[in-house]
């Protein structure tokens, strides 16, 4: 069974990754997860400057899901390069660095710093978080604006030969338009999808539960939403799609592959059960062998 995933002539042995923001910088889960079973760690988003993130409460459980508004808390690119990359390099799986910025320039600067750093040579590729607000354009998220996605993808493409993956936000009118804009400007793959905007209100205190008011909804609750988005995007573009959103069992992963995804990521499920990625891998393998699939792309349905 071929479970590999290939971009720009580079292959990941296993088309199962752990999602950005749910796996820290890898070391947090080292004692609990057999990382050699995982295709790639998608790192916690790194930005130019260190960020403390949002005020708390930052997380709350919802029916079959959770809302988070961490606010891209991270160590910043300099510390990421000096402290986190050496640890990540030792992990027995590949690393894909997730990047964000609050302006076009910031995205480019972060990516360029990685390109220029010898310590970052080992990175397999980049995943671009376009769900951040563009401070130069009234705080509108990059990922909801076709023009911004075009410009950003093009600018980043010019700076790297490594696989460039754009992580789409589902909080848009037509995700296909954004997907096509990224594809046309040099993206190698699309991650589909980031979290859905959600909110809960504390009726006793009469205030939003999260300090940030809204947060990103993840977990089993969004599985059908993610599958629908992946299905749509897979039919709008010809570059590979990496599916995620609500995957906690191997059956969920199979559905994303049937929708047309060439790789999947496990996110919130790892919080619930750190062995989830490995269990999903085993289940996918078993299903494929029982159903005589020799490669994941054969699973795609019409």
């Amino acid at each position: 069974m071929d479970l590999s995933f290939t971009l720009r002539n580079k292959s990941l042995e296993t088309a199962i990754g752990v999602a950005s923001g749910t796996f820290g910088y890898g070391s947090e889960y080292e004692k609990l997860v057999d990382l050699s079973k995982i295709g790639a760690i998608f790192t916690k988003t790194v930005t130019l400057n260190k960020r403390e993130g949002n005020d708390f409460p930052r997380i709350v459980e919802t029916p079959s899901g959770m809302l988070n508004a961490i606010g891209l808390a991270n160590v910043g690119i300099e510390s990421f390069i000096s402290q986190k990359l050496p640890m990540l390099q030792k992990m027995p799986c590949e690393t894909i660095c997730n990047i964000a910025g609050f302006s076009m320039e910031e995205y480019q600067e972060v990516l360029q710093k990685l390109e220029d750093s010898e310590a970052a040579n080992f990175l397999w590729g980049y995943e671009i978080n376009i769900s951040c607000p563009n401070v130069c354009h009234g705080g509108l998220a990059f990922g909801v604006d076709v023009k911004a996605v075009e410009t950003l993808t093009k600018a980043l493409r010019q700076r790297t030969e490594k696989p460039l993956i754009i992580k789409l936000t589902p909080n848009v009118t037509d995700i296909s338009e954004i997907a096509k804009a990224a594809e046309a400007n040099g993206a190698d793959a699309l991650t589909c999808i980031n979290t859905f905007v959600g909110m809960l209100i504390d009726i006793r205190k009469k205030i939003p539960v999260l300090a940030n008011k809204t947060g990103g909804l993840s977990g089993p609750a969004i599985l059908p939403l993610g599958i629908a988005a992946a299905y749509k995007v897979c039919r709008a573009v010809s570059i590979p799609v990496i599916g995620l959103g609500g995957i906690s069992r191997w059956e969920d992963a199979i559905q994303y592959f049937m929708a047309g995804a060439k790789m999947i990521q496990v996110g919130t499920a790892t919080f619930v059960d750190p062995s989830a990625p490995e269990k999903i891998l085993l289940g996918v393998k078993k299903y494929c062998s029982e159903n005589n699939y020799s490669k994941l792309s054969d699973l795609k349905i019409d």
């Binding site: 609990l32 708390f56 459980e61 079959s64 961490i70 808390a73 619930v272 059960d273």
Partner: protein
């Protein structure tokens, strides 16, 4: 730190709505007072996330760990219904632990309500080490005070808000009215936020060493999700890996 399936050895209501659950522990690493673990009660997606609980005791010989929980939400409702030989999914031990008691130090162990667990574990450990300590437990009413056998070798001074058992008032009122605080005294506290804040203020006023066990909503429990932060003098800190035991002087109490 390990993820494993623990067998429940005993589960009993020890006060109104308070339960002590004893379960089998693994060989890897013995839990220390102050540390915690997370529980996944079943394979359902609701409740979804693991829940963190402090250790309330550990028996080295039988490799049995204990916790005290209050029946409050869905997970704890389900836990209250668990019986011997059923299993639960555990990850632990997690987080830091109480610092060692120094020579000549006179620790005051302050537990409020369901904050009893980690303080009881510390008291029992000190008792076994023959380290002198003073242990105070406060509850609103005697119905929420476990029977003395559930404190084992570490009998606390009982305080109730309504005076239905022991001292009338909370543990801090007891300390202020009955004890002469001296430099050798130190605080080790776990309980409601208001109590922790008052304990920190009292320690600060008397220039005493003081430690608090903090609580916050958690998703991962291992430092990955960045969800469980609190305000610390050095910025936001994660309760799960930077704590749960903090020097109370370092916390920005709000």
């Amino acid at each position: 730190m390990k993820q494993f399936t623990a067998s429940i050895i005993n589960n009993q209501e020890i006060a109104q709505g308070y339960y002590q659950l004893d379960f089998s522990w693994h060989d890897n690493e013995e839990p220390k007072p102050g540390q915690f673990f997370t529980v996944k009660i079943n394979n359902n997606s609701d409740p979804l996330l693991r829940r963190p609980f402090a250790f309330s005791g550990y028996d080295t010989k039988s490799k049995t760990a204990s916790m005290i929980f209050q029946k409050r939400g869905t997970t704890t409702q389900m836990m209250a219904g668990k019986t011997a030989n059923e299993t639960i999914d555990i990850i632990g031990p997690l987080g830091n632990f109480f610092p060692a008691i120094k020579d000549q130090e006179a620790p005051l162990l302050i537990a409020g309500g369901i904050g009893l667990g980690p303080i009881l574990y510390l008291a029992r450990t000190l008792e076994r080490q023959k380290t002198p300590y003073t242990f105070l437990f406060g509850a609103p009413d005697k119905a929420l005070v476990p029977d003395s056998k559930w404190f084992y070798e570490a009998q606390p001074i009982i305080c109730t808000d309504n005076g239905s058992k022991g001292f009338k008032g909370n543990p801090l009122q007891y300390i202020e009215s009955r004890l002469q605080l001296e430099p050798k005294h130190s605080f080790y506290a776990c309980g409601p936020m208001g109590m922790l804040k008052s304990a920190a203020a009292l320690a600060e006023k008397n220039n005493l060493a003081s430690y608090s066990v903090m609580e916050q909503m958690m998703a991962c429990g291992v430092g990955a999700c960045m969800g469980c932060v609190i305000k610390h003098k050095d910025g936001l800190k994660r309760v799960c890996v930077d704590g749960p035991v903090f020097n109370s002087k370092d916390i920005l109490w709000t």
